[in-house]
């Protein structure tokens, strides 16, 4: 009896996940189709770029600064022990540019922008605003979803670049203040050991993370059912889906591209 229930529960969950993944793939196809030819509502795009990007800068700067500093605090004892101050910047920079920066900023972006996007779209869905657009012969995917997807992808890359720079600054300040590593040593540690690819590795990850956050947050927004309770469920599902996608994408991108 319990076994049957477990199998039934497993099957139901598997079906639901398959349905949602399928829905996200279909929405991705609709977004791509809407881009050919690229007829995007300029006002919506600019509004979303501002709302999603500019307003996220303070929280990204704060997070990145402390993340960079934290890298130095963690590696500091070993740097001191082995007298390898010249490698402190490399260690922190390598971790920040390739992993910590893109992941942390993507998770922050998902929690702030992705969740907000789902809440907005799902509220519009349950109040029939998407139906209102369709009644006026306007495709909600083209009008609402496409500008949001583009804005999220562009802005996550921009925020990741800003975050990377701030994290390196944070690492330098903490290195100087807490470990006594001078500015020059830290600069040459970055410049001599980090390669452009380390930076680009994080940037292309952020493109993938941005796409995952954007499409999943829009998908759960436009497919919501059931009023205010449904909006809450949709936001929850979007944040979880984005977090899982970020981790899976990070694993496979790191594995495949080194």
């Amino acid at each position: 009896m319990i076994g049957e229930r477990m199998i039934a529960g497993f099957g139901t969950t598997a079906l639901r996940i398959t349905q949602e993944v399928g829905g996200i793939v279909v929405l991705t196809g609709q977004v791509l189709r809407a881009l050919v030819p690229p007829r995007i509502d300029g006002r919506e795009l600019v509004k979303n770029l501002h709302k999603m990007g500019n307003r996220s800068v303070p929280i990204v700067v704060l997070t990145a600064f402390f993340a960079g500093g934290l890298m130095l605090i963690q590696t500091g004892p070993f740097v001191k022990k082995f007298g390898a101050a010249g490698l402190a910047g490399w260690g922190a920079g390598y971790a920040v540019l390739r992993e910590i920066g893109p992941i942390l900023i993507a998770l922050m972006f998902s929690g702030r922008v992705g969740a907000n996007n789902t809440a907005e779209l799902s509220t519009m869905t349950v109040t029939e605003q998407l139906g209102g657009l369709r009644a006026l012969a306007i495709d909600p995917v083209r009008f609402l979803v496409v500008p949001r997807v583009i804005a999220m992808m562009v802005m996550l890359v921009a925020l990741t670049v800003i975050g990377d720079l701030v994290a390196l600054l944070g690492a330098s300040i903490v290195g100087r203040a807490m470990l006594g590593i001078d500015w020059g040593t830290m600069y040459y540690s970055f410049a001599d050991n980090l390669k452009p690819y380390d930076f680009l590795h994080g940037v292309y990850k952020s493109i993938a993370f941005g796409a995952a956050i954007a499409v999943s947050s829009c998908y759960f927004g436009v497919t919501v059912r059931g009023g205010a309770v449904g909006v809450g469920r949709a936001v929850n599902a979007a944040v979880v889906a984005a977090a899982v996608s970020i981790m899976l994408l990070d694993f496979f991108l790191t594995y495949l591209t080194g």
Binding site: M124, T127, E128, Q129, G132, L133, A135, A137, D139
Partner: protein, 256 residues
């Protein structure tokens, strides 16, 4: 042969386990005004959405303004929808736009010149009593004001077919009368075909030519609006008079 604005033939529609429409046949002639009444959850709004091409029937035929809408893709339905104005029961106002931008939206999408849009929007907002509220966001409005913005938006483009889902819900009696006078004047000016759903049977009867009564998933009765209050059908009689005793004791929510 009579030219039709809306033609539904043997339309069935199911949501989950509940079959809302069980073979609705309904016609609206071009230039005519038809009222649709019925108990709550009897499928009136579903018929509005079918007529606007926003829902597809499970079975049956739906033609709007001479075009078949069944099985058509979204991109194909755009041309038909541009000829329709619709007021949604829950307003469906865009909360990311101001009042005037909401009303201007259909004209902007149609590509009208900016000065013509501004003049038309100002006229529409004056006519629904919302002059001075142009810059407000829809979240700042009361339910009745939202309804009036929805009416202004539905009528701003002088559509060939206008569908009003509960145009007087949330309005006081005086405003209700003003709104129906406005809708009647608009219809007389444009010659548009009108489908109006309302629970206010008395006010609706003064606006439309005929009234259809939806019950148990079908059009149970159709007759002249002027005589609806004297209808001999016991179900219609009980509904329009609001009597507690009668054949309508299940409020039309049965599975039929």
């Amino acid at each position: 042969m009579l030219e039709l604005a809306i033609r539904l033939a043997e339309v069935h529609k199911r949501y989950g386990r509940r079959e809302v429409l069980t073979g609705v046949t309904l016609e609206l002639a071009r230039g005519a005004r038809l009222g649709l009444i019925g108990p709550a959850a009897s499928g009136k709004s579903v018929i509005c959405k079918l007529a606007a091409g926003l829902e597809q029937p499970d079975r049956g035929e739906v033609s709007v303004l001479g075009e078949n809408v069944v099985g058509r893709r979204e991109s194909e339905l755009g041309e038909i929808r541009r000829r329709i104005g619709m007021l949604f029961q829950n307003y469906a106002l865009f909360d990311f736009l101001t009042v005037e931008d909401n009303v201007a939206f259909p004209l902007e999408q149609r590509g009208d010149p900016a000065d013509a849009i501004a003049a038309r929007v100002a006229e529409r907002l004056r006519s629904v009593g919302l002059a001075g509220s142009e810059r407000k966001l829809t979240a700042e409005l009361s339910g009745g004001m939202k309804k009036r913005v929805g009416i202004a938006r539905a009528t701003v483009a002088d559509a060939e077919l206008v569908i009003y889902d509960e145009p007087s819900a949330g309005l006081d009696p005086v405003t209700t009368q003003k709104i129906y006078d406005l809708l009647a004047a608009d219809q007389a000016r444009t010659g548009a075909s009108v489908l109006a759903v309302s629970s206010d049977v008395v006010a609706l009867a003064q606006f439309v030519d005929e009234i259809a009564f939806l019950y148990r998933g079908k059009v149970h009765y159709r007759g002249k609006a002027a005589t609806i209050l004297d209808a001999e059908d016991p179900v219609v009689r009980q509904f329009v008079r609001g009597e507690l005793e009668g054949p309508l004791d299940d409020l039309g929510q049965g599975s039929a």
